[in-house]
């Protein structure tokens, strides 16, 4: 299971200009988080008793965790569907899932009115199994832990291989009086390295059970995110309120998961100037339309059985939002049905973004747009509220950039390609091997000029 040579650290500086831009956004967001804790939620947000859940729940939790389902979706493919060629994608997918879920948890703590009471989730006498929220909360906490465990091998590899240059530099920079003794430090670091070396094979042995747990838990809580709105039968518009909400949310997170894995790979290849993983991505993209078709079948079948199909074509406020999420996902899926377009990074990018936006819009529809608590209530997020969400997203991107530089996360382009084309694909013509990176580079250029 030791796939360490499959991944590599990203070479380059961490403190680039984009780093500081992101950092500034993060700081603005956290300023408003501070205001929220001093002056109350009402001081920063437009939420009201009619709309008690705003974009913090709708985006950061309900949509953010779906977007963070890349790790879940790719893990199903690799470990359950046994398609090991996608294995190189998994570590970056897990990393984004880890940040997505961790920060969803963080924004929940911002959103909770009485967060100091959150320990009640761990007191069995307070448990309330009827509540979908209880299920979501426990599952999300458990899954975040599992994601961290799944990521530990990358950190251990990094520790094992580290020469501790930076640590030594800091030691040398410190005043001799407060700096630890050279010998003690070397000994301590050696202990850490040995510890990591000891832990790694043992962790690798049991890791598969955590990985499977990391597939079970999202299946549970992503469907429960849909169950959350089952109770709002008088408030949620009939276009969306159905007993099938759990199933629709589960399918929705799977196709968002694959699409976001595609997007992440394309974006990081583009921005880190690495060759595109066209082979893997087009295979991944081929799966998406099948899931969206199932999703559409459930959705439309349910609308027909409840006699609400006409409401979808009334072209009023609700119908328009329903149709836009429908069309975004449908058109994105249609593009992906074409084998040729699937091999073009640009079309992959277009279709995957459409599916992610459409799928996310579906969740917005259920949590906010289709939610009508009665006359007189309105909600549109305030500036401060949006900035808190934007700050959290910026932190996610920032942390991703730092982590891919510190730990071996991204697919190892040289080693991976050589292994694949040199040995496994012996039957394929060698020209084919050369074609992929070249084609990818060409695409990169076209995308660049296009923008």
């Amino acid at each position: 299971m030791a796939h360490s040579e499959e991944y590599q650290k990203l070479e380059g500086r961490i403190f680039t200009r984009s780093f500081f831009v992101l950092l500034a956004v993060v700081l603005v967001g956290f300023f408003f988080v501070g205001v929220r804790f001093v002056k109350g939620i009402g001081a920063v947000s437009n939420m009201s008793d009619g709309y008690p859940w705003g974009i913090w729940i709708t985006y950061d939790v309900a949509t953010g965790t779906a977007i963070a389902c890349g790790g879940y979706a790719v893990a199903i493919l690799v470990y359950i569907r046994n398609r090991m060629q996608y294995h190189p994608l998994i570590r970056s997918a897990i990393l984004t899932s880890m940040f997505g879920y961790g920060l969803a948890g963080f924004s929940v703590m911002v959103d909770l009115g009485r967060p100091w009471n959150a320990y009640n989730f761990f007191i069995p006498s307070k448990w309330q199994a009827n509540s979908a929220m209880f299920e979501v909360a426990l599952c999300v906490m458990a899954y975040s832990t599992v994601l961290i465990i799944e990521f530990v091998p990358a950190i251990l590899t990094s520790i094992e291989k580290s020469k501790w240059n930076r640590m030594n530099a800091i030691r040398n920079w410190l005043h001799p009086r407060i700096a630890p003794d050279q010998q003690t430090m070397v000994d301590t670091l050696e202990m850490v390295r040995l510890g990591a070396a000891w832990l790694k094979p043992r962790l690798n042995k049991v890791l598969i059970f955590f990985i499977v747990l990391g597939i079970t838990l999202p299946t549970m809580h992503q469907s429960s995110l849909g169950s959350l709105l089952l109770i709002a039968s008088t408030k949620l518009h009939p276009l969306w309120h159905t007993g099938f909400l759990p199933l629709l949310f589960l399918l929705n997170c799977i196709f968002i998961g694959y699409s976001i894995a595609i997007l992440e790979s394309l974006i990081s290849s583009y921005s880190f100037k690495r060759p595109y993983e066209v082979e893997e991505l087009s295979g991944l993209a081929g799966l998406v339309p099948y899931i969206t078709v199932i999703w559409f079948c459930v959705m439309i079948g349910d609308l027909v059985s409840r006699g609400q199909l006409a409401a979808a074509f009334r072209f009023d406020f609700y119908s328009r939002f329903f149709l836009s999420d429908f069309l975004l996902v449908a058109i994105g899926s249609l593009i992906l049905f074409s084998k040729k377009l699937r091999r073009s990074p640009r079309w992959l990018f277009v279709s995957a973004s459409m599916i992610v936006f459409g799928g996310a819009l579906y969740r917005f529809n259920v949590y906010l747009i289709g939610f009508n608590p009665g006359k007189g209530w309105r909600y549109f997020p305030s500036f401060a509220e949006v900035m808190i969400t934007v700050g959290i997203v910026a932190l996610e991107i920032l942390a991703y950039k730092v982590f891919v530089a510190l730990f071996p996360v991204l697919p190892n382009t040289s080693g991976h390609g050589a292994k694949k084309h040199g040995k496994a694909k012996a039957t394929q013509p060698a020209a084919d091997a050369a074609f992929q990176p070249a084609g990818a580079q060409l695409e990169a250029v076209t995308v660049k000029t296009h923008n």
């Binding site: 598969i208 959350l228 040995k423």
Partner: protein, 310 residues
């Protein structure tokens, strides 16, 4: 091989999906039926008797202000703060009288406060049991010492009753508890019913209230809309209403007799019955994953990629 595996994948998705579909379909059929307890405490509000004096509002605040974290609300014109002038139920007001006026002849007062449902949505959704329903009195109570402030009760309540203190750094939920810790304990009656000078609020057991309401409907059929609001709405409520105008005009929503909490709990219970489904899912996935892994170790590292291609 590629086609083959895609089919397998679809099978897997389909199987999971079919399971869930079957579960939710079965759950809709399995109607357990809600047991209505008519011995619970409640109130009957007769809008035709109400004179709109708001004595109930003022008594509620006087009695519950400390315990229930209530406070006076200033109106914009009233800079000196002479009056308590809440415009709606809020984080400082748990009962409220409003006037609905359609025309000079067509008008009605209406009282808003917790309906104390037979099957309360807020209790069903609270993840940490901060909302509870007392088994004997049927009072739906809130405990701020366990509440985490997630506001799911607000999302769930079809009557929009629980209110949140948005302006406070240490907020809580505010809702009527039938003076459980104040007037009811001391005098055996809720403060609003005690002070009402017009007899518009009657306090008592649900069966007495229903009887009284039916009698009033029988005696004065012209005066009332022939419906006791709360008798069947959302599984039945302990706070009942009589009025001369359609209830939805008075801000009381049309709700089906099935409690919303019944619907959601049925689906949730079917999926998570005895925690069998999640455990089964986990074990199945473990079996598949371990098998796959063994295969790979058998073939060796390099072959793993080759294997995928045929």
């Amino acid at each position: 091989m590629k086609k083959q595996s895609r089919r397998d994948f679809l099978k897997l998705v389909g199987a999971t999906g079919a399971g869930l579909v079957a579960a939710s379909a079965a759950s809709v059929q399995a109607n357990e039926g809600l047991h209505v307890n008519n011995d619970e405490l409640g109130m009957l509000y007769d809008a035709t008797k109400c004179v709109g004096c708001k004595a109930c509002m003022s008594a509620c605040k006087r009695v519950n202000s400390d315990y229930g974290s209530l406070s006076y609300e200033k109106a914009r014109f009233d800079t000196d703060g002479l009056w308590d002038a809440p415009s709606d139920l809020s984080g400082s007001t748990r009962t409220l009288i409003k006037l609905f006026k359609e025309s000079p002849k067509q008008w009605s007062y209406v009282k808003y406060s917790c309906m104390h449902c037979q099957k309360p949505s807020c209790v069903s959704v609270c993840p940490v049991s901060a909302m509870t329903k007392e088994p004997v009195t049927g009072i739906v109570d809130y405990n701020k010492n366990t509440c985490i402030g997630c506001r799911y009760c607000q999302v769930a309540c079809p009557y929009n009753i629980p209110k949140f203190q948005w302006e406070k750094a240490l907020p809580q939920i505010v809702k009527c508890d039938l003076c459980k810790n104040t007037n009811l304990r001391e005098k055996g009656i809720s403060a609003c019913a005690e002070v009402c000078p017009a007899g518009a609020i009657k306090f008592g057991k649900r069966k007495e209230l229903l009887e009284e309401a039916q009698n009033r409907l029988k005696d004065n059929p012209d005066k009332y809309i022939a419906h006791i609001y709360g008798e069947h709405e959302g599984g039945g409520t302990n706070h009942l209403y009589l009025a001369s105008m359609p209830f939805n005009k008075l801000g009381l929503p049309d709700i089906k007799p099935e409690a919303p909490a019944e619907f959601s709990e049925k689906i949730q219970h079917t999926i998570y019955k005895g925690f069998i489904a999640p455990v089964a899912l986990y074990s199945t996935l473990c079996f598949i994953a371990v098998k796959n892994m063994k295969k790979h170790q058998g073939h060796g590292e390099e072959d793993s990629h080759k294997k995928e291609e045929h």
